[in-house]
């Protein structure tokens, strides 16, 4: 650990926390529509994993991807504008919360069907391997997704062809309201990798430094051409699954205990104690993050809506169906 990294971690996690709080607020004011899946509690995973990844690596994510997008470097303005459905959003307002994309930053989205991320990731990995390129693909997924057929199909192919893919399980122990003991015969997701002869490891997903170090090692394995790797991060989400879910199925004591090992304040305390940052620096970083989020909300609010309903359906529209007969 060094000061720069500590600064980065604290900024990323503070931005993430503030962004999600603002999203919830804007959602309740009706500025954001659709489904909104928030990330508080899981910040250490996105930050640890994506700060260890190279800018050239591809990232494939799910519908709970705001923070993945932010840490990947998509400006908060563009992410918030997308949530607002504005043309300045990173998907032009056509994607929304669940479909953030930024091809320039190699952020391949944004998939709302559980299990879709695996084939997309091995496809990008296949291409990289076929072209003998050195980049890797980082594929995020939840514990619930590990029961989808594509998980097994894709892990098989990834291992069979030694594709450069790092599968990152964000195991928050819940699939909406179904707790992992009720949805999985084997609750230690990383152990499933052994069925495909894939190397795997479990890490404390509430500890950003541990996630960063584990990812760094895992990606070194992948980049060196040793095939795929599965990293299971044990984490927790504080909110319900989406804005429609209060999360009432979880015992109060469980929630309190998890909040007790909060990744953001936990890292802050540690950074102060270790001398990576001082109090003034930490507060400064946090207010920068808050300001970025406030600016993003204003930017989104002031941005125009997209106006072409049929833009980008095809690359070369034939217009045979446009307009009235």
């Amino acid at each position: 650990m060094n000061q720069d990294l500590a600064r980065q971690f604290l900024f990323d996690m503070s931005l993430a926390r503030a962004f999600e709080q603002a999203s919830a607020q804007q959602y309740s004011e009706g500025k954001i529509g659709g489904f909104l899946h928030l990330y508080p509690g899981e910040e250490a995973v996105a930050v640890g994993v994506l700060r260890a990844a190279d800018p050239g690596d591809y990232v494939v994510s799910t519908y709970r991807e705001h923070v993945h997008a932010l840490v990947r470097g998509i400006p908060a303005r563009e992410v918030m504008a997308e949530l607002f459905g504005r043309s300045t959003g990173c998907s032009g307002g056509y994607g929304g919360s669940m479909h953030l994309f930024d091809i320039g930053r190699r952020f391949l989205g944004g998939y709302a069907i559980v299990g879709e991320t695996f084939p997309v990731a091995i496809g990008a990995g296949y291409w990289l391997r076929m072209r003998e390129q050195s980049e890797a693909v980082v594929c995020f997924f939840g514990d619930g997704a590990a029961n989808q057929g594509t998980f097994h199909e894709s892990l098989n192919m990834a291992a069979l062809w030694e594709l450069p893919v790092l599968f990152v399980c964000e195991n928050n122990r819940y699939q909406i309201g179904t707790e992992i003991h009720r949805h999985s015969a084997l609750t230690e997701v990383h152990r499933r990798a052994c069925a495909y002869g894939m190397d795997a490891e479990r890490v404390d997903g509430m500890d950003v430094v541990a996630v960063y170090e584990a990812t760094d090692a895992a990606l070194r394995h992948v980049h060196a051409g040793n095939g795929p790797y599965l990293l299971e991060c044990e984490t927790y989400r504080y909110r319900g699954h989406s804005m429609a879910d209060s999360g009432a199925y979880r015992p109060e004591a469980e929630l309190a205990e998890e909040r007790g090992r909060d990744p953001v304040s936990g890292f802050r305390d540690r950074a102060l104690k270790q001398g990576w940052l001082d109090e003034r620096q930490a507060s400064q970083i946090e207010s920068e993050a808050d300001a970025a989020v406030q600016d993003a909300v204003q930017f989104a609010d002031a941005s125009p809506a997209p106006d072409d309903l049929q833009a980008n359906v095809y690359s070369n529209p034939l217009d045979l169906y446009k307009g009235r007969p």
Partner: protein
């Protein structure tokens, strides 16, 4: 092996230009070979496409020429290898996936419908998905209900996908080559009974646009719209009717999404009467879309409603007699035209 050649059964090579007539599978094989030779981002994957050469021989010889990274035998994992194609397409590849038969495409629909067809749109135009999905189908040789489907209507209903249905060697070749070069996901429906049909073939003739329909026979009294094997049936019916002095126009649709409505409209304007003949189930089928579109666009030119012949509202039976009774045949087309013309 050099390009501009195709493989005979033993994997040896015969130059394409040496033959005027070719089978559909051979035309597809040459098209794949030429595209793979021209662009090294084109690659093929599917079950048994490599060493085995493809269930209908379409990819024969390609593994030996291009190696296993570009001609990849996959596990039986339709959902994921189709999605693999999508992922590779997003980052620069031009994958061609073979789904062994259209029946198994149902396992791949998530990748085709929710991913391939949507990603350009949902990303605000950032992503492109140059994916070709080939799938043989149709009623063929008593394969029974799980292996005798058409499913065109399921794929036609999806904005963002294109669907073509080439029936001749020349069209198969053109469609394949154009599909590979297009930045959108395209489904190529192939017909299992047509792979071994011969037809004229000129690899260097200039192709018409992918979506354009072809008038296979000119006529004045009725327009019969068909695709794939039903074109043959319609052409036979036209011969039979011509013997009685009835001249029908036979249109091979060639593309099911988009549909070349201008060509259909122009024909209907001349004949005043249209019949759609489809091998897929008639209920809510492609014919329903065509009939409705023509009704909206050329009501004034039609002297009666557009009629449709299609498969029975039942899964395809195994027994041979019932199987052939389940889809339109020569007699059905002849009778339908006679009835429409009141003769």
């Amino acid at each position: 092996m050099s390009p501009r050649q195709h493989n005979d059964q033993a994997g040896r090579i015969a130059p394409a230009q040496a033959r005027e007539e070719l089978m559909v599978w051979e035309a597809l094989n040459i098209a794949l070979d030429r595209e793979m030779d021209a662009d090294d981002s084109v690659f093929l994957l599917g079950e048994d496409v490599g060493l085995y050469g493809g269930s209908y021989r379409v990819s024969q010889g390609l593994l030996a020429k291009y190696g296993e990274w570009r001609v990849r035998d996959t596990p039986i994992s339709e959902g994921s290898f189709t999605g693999l194609g999508v992922g590779a397409a997003l980052v620069g590849g031009r994958p061609i996936i073979e789904i062994m038969t259209v029946n198994f495409s149902l396992l791949a629909l998530d990748a085709l419908v929710n991913m391939a067809a949507k990603l350009r749109y949902m990303s605000g135009g950032q992503l492109r998905v140059p994916l070709v999905a080939r799938m043989p189908g149709g009623v063929a040789h008593q394969l029974a209900a799980q292996h005798s489907q058409r499913l065109e209507q399921m794929l036609m209903n999806v904005p963002g996908l294109r669907v073509v249905a080439p029936g001749t060697p020349q069209d198969s070749y053109w469609h394949m080559r154009q599909a590979v070069r297009t930045d959108d996901p395209i489904v190529i429906l192939e017909h299992e009974l047509l792979y071994f049909h011969k037809g004229p073939f000129d690899p260097d003739a200039k192709p018409p646009p992918m979506h354009s329909a072809a008038i296979r026979r000119h006529g004045t009294q009725a327009t019969v719209i068909a695709w794939h094997r039903m074109v043959e049936v319609a052409l036979e019916a036209a011969e039979r009717l011509a013997a009685d002095g009835i001249e029908i126009e036979v249109i091979d649709l060639r593309s099911l999404r988009p549909i070349d409505l201008p060509t259909l409209q122009a024909s209907v304007r001349r004949t005043g009467c249209a019949l759609v003949v489809e091998e897929d189930v008639r209920f809510a089928g492609a014919g329903a879309e065509i009939a409705a579109a023509l009704g909206e666009r050329c009501f004034g030119d039609l002297n009666q409603p557009v009629r449709r012949l299609g498969a029975a509202d039942a899964p395809t039976p195994y027994e041979a007699g019932l199987e052939s009774a389940s889809i339109p045949d020569l007699t059905a087309v002849v009778n339908a035209v006679r009835m429409m013309l009141g003769s």
